[in-house]
Each structure stands twice: as structure tokens, then as C-alpha cells.
Symmetry: D2
Subunit: 370 residues, 4 copies
């Protein structure tokens, strides 16, 4: 807890939507991790706005600059700091509305928490833009995990509004090729027809000045057995902690999640067997985590994302300055649905969480130590 | 992260089911909190086994002994350590089964995580018994919150298996009398007829040697506005962290949670208004938390609890010693449903989380300081 | 910071002099460390009072009971909690003096910090007795370091009052046999004649109802190169943090310490050379730590311990209840010099600090992981 | 521990001497602190090189840019990130010497710790330049402490080499005017004649291609009673932790420090009395801290700083590439004495430590909360 997350690694995020820059510090990295900057840009591009008619038309130009901790293509092992400058922001636009608290945004709660000193422009520290540093750091973790352990992390859109993708989340997703293909899709689904339905659903809401939410499912393959601990250091605890740090997330469930509560124990329990020398489960209702510790099955979790609170429709709210009720008409370009851009953010959380536990078990493993 | 939770307070839990004792350390407490030990025993009694035919018949006799940090009826402000001795445990019973990994228990993952050195008797450090220290510490937090801020924390059973209680979780529960009455019920519900249905459902499963899961809903009234922060210190992040530390929890959602993903923004947003000088929302779809910060509305969250993994039915599993598949027949007395005993645990998590953020804002407020 | 110390390990200490028990929790331990309980008792015996006329005649009977985290002779890897019960304490003795703030004790500062709710009996949480848990945990760390890495930790009395032992602290102490012999001596010195002088000095002060301070020097051999980091994770930072947690410590210096400030750079710098393939320094003015990181030379540091503040002589002080000045006459049996009992405490700090950094580099190294 | 320091505040520092930038993140700040940027520049100017013939002639142009957490002249309460760009650095100069490990620098230990991936140019993350962010953050803390509590923090040069300033460190320094004047002096001393002697001593060493060390004494006035706790959260522990994070610091002592070890208890104890309603001590041998907690007397501590390891004289060392011994001739402009520039760094540590404990007791005190 605090503005820093992690145990063996420590990550922190700073910035406001209209401050000079946003960025982060990635601390506790082992030295000698080769970083593929192009791959980081691919991940950040997945999160960036302005890429399709499903997201806001604003273009943010998220070009990260590494400030420290990186030398000759490798991590040095010292804190890796980076920033993304905030460009031509039209801050004036926000002065007009600064006293009207946008419903379901952090405007009112932030006003109290920060005693009116917060930077209200563009959502300030509450802006979804603050997930860009998370994607940046998650991409480094992903590269490490893929390189050292062959770990694959992917996500799909499980639902948008009432449109549900196919697939029972706890048994199937083991087709690695399909998982890999998700990354290049705006609305990755198992059933591609559902993807088209979802897109229409979003665009229809957009036309009405409204927005939609949805559920993201993330899967992690080839994660070693034995990461995490019972109680406060449970794999689920620290991952849920990260996921609820992402704006608009209102629910997190592992494996069958809320649906497991409907089953009998005899249905819910994941029985074990030997597949040669490898221990496996017949089912994966626990989503790859039992007793707070990974069990070698695919890690599976779902994340509920609420509809973007910025909508064009008029809304009732308060004026914090006058102390009166008013009607708010938000202008500007907003995401009708944040889900496509949230996919790499959710994957980043998964990667960072695995990375942290891996270092706990394996240590820094400096080549020259001893 | 680590075996310690909290920011301004630090709580830690130790113990195994059959070690000399379980217990905890509650650190960062302000001095001068009057502790009502009887009230703690009431809360611990709610969690204790052997109280009804809905839970295991084992009687644990959870008598906590305070070791330090408590003097003349008040907290001293130094670490408050306490323990609950483990009584006449029949450890021999466990030797027979120690190599058979019980499905959906921490047996296999714990064996890898602790390299075979873990105390396997009675589930060791994975035992649900480890939630007793959480209830103990939560009860102190609850007393403080009630006394200083008038905060009320209560929970009900939202569902058992497929039996759902009535009530839309995000608008109603403002009847304080009903909330207060929940504490004295085994299966507190809004619709008491549902409570009887749930009981029958559990007993029917018990008869078949099976178990059931369910969903708990917790509500916190009169929590001040302004607790929490965006990103890693969000109120939801730290609370979810705690909740996922509780064995058998597989899902956590705030406000409408996963259902909010089905709404349009215009339906989901909680519009604001002035009720005199107090800022309120017309709805509470966000469950009292926006932007990671409390907004003054009731805090509402749901917790999915999986069916008790210990069931009498035969199950397929592995023998970690022989490396062969076997069939497991668990004997002994187990909870057919853990939900009734989990209610005070969930409330404890809520209380501890509010307490921690309160200290961040208010400080220790020593009377003699300055 | 907080009542918990450590990064990869987390140690916490609880208790008051007259509470039910004192104790600690050692968290983050690798599973499978074989613990020699007799060896722990030897270390605790070095710290225990009543062993000679140099210390208080009170006998505390420090028998630690392990509560958790230990099974069949090995650490389990879960939190290892332990307690030492407080025996027949004559708490009444303290009521009389509870409002008279003993000079240079934590009475007055504790009264403010804990708003009068602190347990004043026997010094409460400020008691030197609280170092017993540190010795307990340090002994486990020592055993691990000796077994896995051959690390040897020893300490000597560098001075008592104005009596100085021989030896230039930064070049000599490489005689392992002498270092090992220190453990069995009450006042270990290089020059054994000095030891006798020191003893006389202490006894003479005792006779006059007075007390003496001194300086302890600790040395750690065979510590690997590469432990620590620059800035906030420097080896010196975390070790000094621990050492200043020990009551009565008022100064900490590494290598030549304050004396290095008198040298020119050309005298102070430790030049390097290859001794075969091993990198060594011609001198060790930096005490085995450069840039916050161990360099393979012996770790050397000095700790200044103030005279025991409890003395029989009358002292001027305040009565916190009446708000008036008074004269205090402390009765009871007190240590005329705490140095002999502080030696294992200082060594424990060194061991715990090395252990923590070792785990950072090496990880848990679970045998069954992967 | 870790690259982050603090409990209620969290500060982190990033950067290498020749990376794109150095900087830091100041987290946990209350909202609404008015920051005087000119005052920050004054403090940073005290630390900056190139200001006199006592320090290196290199000019670094330390212009900090605030990236976030600051709006309309006030802290917002969100993480305040800032950077100082690294200018026209002649990195090529360093390639030649990169395999020659400079004695008493972090070259060799860093090479092992970071497995050869560290940025060796200009000392990398070990560079004294990394203290600039500490001064930046310390200046914010100082402003807050002065404004809210009237706390005054100042330091003097207690010694350079063998030249000692006058003054018994534990009774006198209560002349606020003198303390305030220290800030504008290169070598602030009580006896100004000593200052001239020290200057000559430094310049004489410089002429010979050598360097000198010294001792800094810091004093903090008007610090409230009751900050800190016994054991791991002692005021001395966290401050010593910070001070040993500063490169070249090899010793820290509070009050009389190592000299207190020479006294009898009857001489060392600070007796108490009432000065009207205020509790005072007749002496201040404990340097304002007893039992780990501030007692209202001036906080006094000394810091031993070793001679700058970079000297022009030839030195024996190893070539890490060839595995052979060599002689090193360091060129370039180096500080003959770092003491004058270290004064604001030491004061920054004191300010940050007091600030952290103040927030623990007083909380964020948001104006709009409740």
C-alpha cells in the first residue's frame, strides 16, 4: 500500500493529465535484462487513444523517455525511471467545468481528499492516462517472463454490455496460437462474430452520446508452480491490489469466480493427476491459484470494467463552488468504451505480479555474484 | 505485500493449525483505545466452529491471550500481540493422509512453495483457522470506528449455491436496525424466508457428503468522505488485497461490480446532489468508492466464497510420495458451508481497511502531543 | 521503518517488560533451515542478566517458546513466531515511581508519545529486555549464514569508559581463532590485561552506585561481495537502522569511522589488488563496505553504548503528575554496564542484515521449485 | 529498506551521473503546501559544484523541473516527481578508465552487484550528484517544518582533517542568529578563525592532489516532543538510515555520541526540570532523543564524511577486464573536500526525518476532510 506497489520489485507512478509529464519508476529490476523498445511501443500503442472509432479521437503521442537505469540496451539494476511528456493540452477547456463534479469521476472525492489543491485539468492524477506507465513497466516484465520462462500472457473481451463471447472460462483456453493472435485485435474474442456484435453495440452507444462497459478475461500460461503464499502475500491479493488500481475496475474474480459460489464442492474441486511427471488438474475452477499459490495450471481471471463515466448526455451534479445543484454537459472527445485500450493494462498487471513473485523465489541471480 | 498488511497500521498473522499457537501482531495502533474484550469474544464466537449444524462440529475454543500492547484496559500504542493456543489436536490423524494432496486445498501448492517442510497437519498455515486473528484485530478496529466515527459495519448472505436473497444491492440497505440485527443471525438475509431455504440447501448438501459456496455482501455506513487515493493506494485495492487473503475467496466486487459492466454509462453513473450541505448520490452503483476514494455513500462490496474443499465424497488426486494417482477419502468433521463463519471475517477486513485510511488522514492524535 | 525491519525478511518485536510475554515474528524465512535450539540458548544466555557481577542480579529466565513456523526441527517458511513469558515480576515496585521520569530513560518521551497509556512497569516497551527477541532471531540468521556461507560474526569490547583495548580496528582482526574465542568471554578483548582493567573499572563504578558505557566492535568474515546497493538500500543504512533500534546505542561507525575524517584521501583510500583470482584491498578503512555494497573484506563496525541510565545516585527530575521538580532515588538491581550483554545483540543485528541481503540476491531457493 | 525511504512519506531517487536525468519522487505529501521555488534553488545552490575553489570546478547547472504533483504554486498531494537533466557530459572520458576500479569508489562493488551492466560513466548511480534530489526534497520538508512548526535546521563544520571547531556540542548551540547565519557560509563554524584554518588545510591538500574529510554537526530546534518510537521506528534509526545513504558518510552519532561511552551514568544522564510548564533537561548529552523519541531539546547529531576518494595521486588498483593489477591516474576536476557541499544534504536528511514522524502523529490534516 501507498503509491508504490510490489514486494521484491517496487513500482511507482506519477503524473497528472496536464502536468509536465507522467511516468514511473521501476525499482528492484535485475541487471542485464535486454529491453526491446519497439516491443514496448507496440504495447503502448495498444493502450494509446486515437487508434480507432471505438476509442477517443484524441491522440496522445505516448513517447516514453527513459531517464535512468538503462544503459547500452540493458537494465542496469538501478531504478529505471521514465516519463511521457504531456503535449499540447488544452487546459483552458477545463476551467469552465472545474467546479462541476462529473458523476462517477474522481472529481468530488479528489476535491475532498486533496482539499481543493488537486490538478483538476483532464482528470489530473485520476486520468486513465496514468495507466500508460503501467503498460510500459508491464511490457518490461512481459519480455523478461517470456525470455526466461516462456510465459505467455494474453487477454480477450469476455463481454461488452450484454454481448457475451463464447467459451467456458475455466477449461478451454489452451490454444496458444489463438491466444497470441488476441494481441493484434481491437476486440479479441473466441467467437469472431461476437466481436462484430460488440463493435456495433459500442458504436450505437457512441451515437447516442453514451458509453459501455465490459469484462476482460486474462490468461497466463507456463507460470511456475509455487509462486505466492497464503494470507497477505497471496498471489490473488497482490494481483487484485494492482487491478483495482486501474481506474474503472469494479470487480475481480479468479477462475470461475462468482460462479464457483453456485457449485457444490464436488463440482468445484479441481482433482489432481500425474501427466507423466507433471502434476495437473482435471479442471481449472480455481484459475491456477490454490491457497494463494500458483499450481501450474493456466492463471485465469476476469476484470469488470465500468462504462466510461464521461458521456455526452446531460447529467445532474453539484457545483462545489456555489454549493448548488446544476446540470452538466460534458463536451470533448471521449471513449465510448475503454475495454479495447484496457486489455494491455490488465496484462501488464498480470506480468508485474508474476515477475515480483519470481524474484522472491529466484533472487536477482547476478551473474557475477559469488 | 509480504506477510504483513497495512500502511499506517501493520497487521501480521502467524500460526499453523497444529502449531503451539496461532496469533497476530497489531502494530501502529493509537494509544488509549478502550478495548471491550467481551465484544471481541462475541465476534470471535461468530467465527468459531461448533456453533450449529451448519458448521463443523469440531470445537476450537478460541480463547485469545493478549501478550503485549494492552494495559489497564487500553491499548498502549506499542505492538499488540496476541495468541490463541492450539488445543488437543489429533495430529496423528493427519499422518496417514499427508502425502495425498487434497484437491483445491493448499496441500500441493504448499508442498512446492515450502519444499516439503511445511506443517501439513490440519492444513497448517493454510487453515481457515488463521482467520481467527483477523477477526480479533478487526474487532478492535470496529470498536474504534464505532466509538470515534459512528461507523457501522454489517454483512448478509447474498446467496448460497443458487438460492439468492432479495434486494438490489446498490440502492436499498439503509435500514440501520436491520443491519444491526444481521450480527445475531446464522444466515442473515433481507428476506428471512430465503434464510430458511439456504439452510435446507446446506443441510441437504451435508447429508450427501458435499459442501456449498455462496456470496457475502458487506456494507459500511457513515464512513467519512476522502479515504483512499487513486492508483496503488485505492480503497478498493487495499481492501481487495485483504479479502483475497481470506482462504476460499475467489471474487470481489464493489457496488454493482460485474453487473455494472452490463450497463450504459448513463445508467451506471451516480449523479450527485446537495442534501442540505451534504453531498449525496442518487444511486450507489460505485459502492461508495469513486476514483479509489470514499464518497460518503455506504460502502458496498460482495465477496464470492467457494464451496469448502473438504468433502466426504471420494476424489481423485496424487500421492506426492509415491508419484502415483490415488483416490482420496477425507474423514473427519468439516464445514458443509463456510459462509456463516466467514461473515465476521469479511467485516473485519472492511474495518481494518477503513481504520488504516483513517489514521493516514487523522494521524495518531495523541492527546499529550504538542 | 515502522515496528518492522527488513526487506526480504521482515522481523518484528513485541512486548513490555511486565506484559504477559515479549517475543517476535520472523517472517520471510526460507523453508528447511535446520535450527539448533541449544545454540539459540547459548546466544540468549550471553544476553541474559544475572550471569555475573558485571550485570544486574535479576534473573529473567529467558526461555523462548516457538509458537509457529517450525516443524520437525526445521523452519517451515511461514512466519516463525515465538515468545518469552514474563515471570514473577514485582510490578508493584513501579507504581511508586511511575510519575517520576527517570533521566535518560524513555519515561518522559514515552509518556508524551503514548499519551500516558504506556505500560510504565519496568520500562515497558523501552526495556532492554526487548533485545532478547533480537538475539533469538539473530541466532537463527547466524546459523544459516555459518552453515551456507561459512560466515563468522564476532565482537569485542573496544573500550569501557576510558579503558581502550589494543588493536587498530581496520587492519588486524583476521585471526579466526581469536574471534571465535570472544564468544565465551564476558569482556572479550585483544589484550586480555585490558579486560581485567575494564572489569575493575565497572566494579568500581558499581560500588559508587554509578554505571559505565563503552564501545563494541563487531567483525563479520567471509561475507560475499555484492550485498547492498547505493542510496537507501545501502548495507550501512539498514545495519545502522537496526543498531540504533537497540536501546542505549548513540553512535555507529563503519571501518575507521569518525577517524577516517582526519585522514587525507591518499591515506584513507583502500587500494585494490588481485590475490590470485580474489580481489582484495591493502587496507580496510571502509570496513568492508564501499558504495553501500560489501566488497569482500571483513565487515567492521563500532557501536557506542551509553552508560546504563539506571543508577543508584540521587537525580533531579520531574513528577509528571504533580508538575513539580523532585529528586529521584532509584532502587533495585541494575546493570553497572550493559556492554557484556549487548555483544550478542550487536552480532544479531549484523547477522540479520547480512541474511536479508543474501536472500535478495539468492532468493528462497526452494528445493522443489521449478 | 529498498530504493525507497520513509514511512508516512516515501521518497525515491533515480538516475546516473550520465543518464538522461536524475531526479526523485516525493510521495505522501499533504496537499496545499506552498513551495518557494527560489528557496529550493538556494538550497540546491549550496550543494552545487563550481561555487568556490574548495569544490570541483565542474559546473552542473542543477535546474530541477517539476513533472507532477504541483499546481498553482502548491503541492497537490499526489506524487511530486521532478528531474534534473544531465547536461553536456563528456562520457567518452570514462571509457578509458572503465575497467580500472577506483579505490574506495563503488566501481568494484558496483561491478559485482550489477553484473557489469551498471552505467560506469561518472560514477553512475553511485555519484555524489544523486544527493541533489535529496536536497530538493529536503528543502520542501524544511519549508513545511519552518512554516507550520517554526522548526529551524542548521549545520556547521565541526572538523576538517585535524582542525576542530570550538564548542561543546551538547550544551551550547542555542544562538538562533548564529545558526541562521551558517547557511550563507562555505565553512560555517562557531569560531570563524577555525574556518580560515580549515580552508587553508583543504587548499593545501588540493595543491598536493589530495583530498580531506571532516565532521558535520547538525542541529534542529523547536522539534515537538514525542516523535519516534522505541525499537525499529526510533528517530535515530530512520535518520541514521538516511544519513548512511549519503555517499562518503562513515559514521553517525547523536548527542555526545562516541564520547558518551567514556562517561559515567551520573555524568551522562540528562536530568529534567520544569521551566514553567515546559519540560527541559539540564544537559543534552542524548542530543534531543531518548528511547528513540524526541524530548524537546535541540536535536544534535554528527556525521563523519570520508575524504573524497577521487584524488590526483597515482593509486594501485585492479583492471577488471584483464584481471591484472595496474596503477591508476585519475584526471579531471574533483572536490578536494566534499564537506561544504554536504551540509545541505545532511540538513535535508534531518528535515525529511522530522517531516515523516510529524505526519505520523498529525496525519494529512486535509482542510476539507470530515
Amino acid at each position: 500500500m501507498s503509491s508504490i506497489w510490489g514486494n521484491k520489485i517496487k513500482i511507482s507512478i506519477f503524473g497528472e493529465s496536464h502536468s509536465n509529464a507522467i511516468g514511473g519508476v521501476f525499482d528492484g529490476l535485475p541487471p542485464g535484462i535486454k529491453i526491446d523498445l519497439d516491443e514496448i511501443m507496440v504495447e503502448m500503442g495498444r493502450r494509446a487513444p486515437g487508434k480507432s472509432n471505438l476509442s477517443t479521437e484524441r491522440s496522445e503521442g505516448d513517447i516514453p523517455e527513459i531517464l535512468s537505469g538503462y544503459f547500452n540496451g540493458y537494465t542496469t539494476g538501478t531504478p529505471l525511471a521514465f516519463m511521457i511528456k504531456n503535449g499540447n493540452t488544452r487546459s483552458k477547456d477545463y476551467d469552465e467545468l472545474k467546479n462541476l463534479m462529473r458523476p462517477s469521476h474522481g472529481d468530488y472525492t479528489g476535491n475532498i481528499r486533496y482539499s481543493g489543491y488537486g490538478d483538476y485539468r483532464g482528470g489530473g492524477h485520476f486520468s486513465g492516462r496514468l495507466t500508460a506507465p503501467l503498460v510500459f513497466m508491464g511490457s518490461i516484465a512481459k519480455q523478461y517472463l517470456a525470455e526466461k520462462k516462456g510465459i505467455l500472457i494474453a487477454s480477450r473481451v469476455k463481454s461488452i454490455g450484454n454481448i457475451m463471447d463464447d467459451g467456458d472460462e475455466c477449461t478451454y483456453i489452451l490454444d496458444e496460437e489463438m491466444l497470441k493472435s488476441f494481441k493484434n485485435k481491437r476486440l479479441p474474442t473466441i467467437n469472431s462474430a461476437k466481436s462484430i456484435e460488440m463493435e456495433e453495440y459500442i458504436l450505437e452507444a457512441k451515437k447516442r452520446g453514451d458509453s459501455t462497459g465490459g469484462v476482460i478475461q486474462c490468461v497466463c500460461l507456463h507460470v511456475p508452480v509455487g509462486l505466492g503464499s497464503p494470507i497477505f502475500e497471496s498471489f490473488e491479493s497482490s494481483l487484485a491490489h494492482l487491478l483495482f488500481s486501474v481506474p474503472a475496475v469494479k470487480g475481480v474474480e479468479f477462475g470461475k469466480g462468482f460462479d464457483i459460489a453456485k457449485l457444490y464442492g464436488s463440482q468445484a474441486n479441481d482433482e489432481l493427476y500425474y501427466d507423466g511427471e507433471v502434476v495437473k488438474n482435471y479442471t481449472n475452477n480455481n484459475g491456477g491459484i490454490v491457497g494463494g499459490i500458483t499450481n501450474g495450471m493456466p492463471i485465469l481471471f476476469n476484470v469488470a470494467v465500468k462504462p466510461t463515466p464521461s458521456i455526452a448526455k446531460p447529467q445532474r451534479t453539484i457545483n462545489i463552488e456555489t454549493g448548488k445543484d446544476e446540470v452538466l454537459n460534458v463536451k470533448g472527445r471521449h471513449d465510448p468504451c475503454i475495454i479495447p485500450r484496457a486489455l494491455p493494462v490488465v496484462e501488464a498487471c498480470a506480468a508485474l505480479n508474476i515477475f515480483d513473485y519470481l524474484l522472491q523465489v529466484e533472487g536477482l541471480n547476478n551473474e557475477r555474484y559469488k
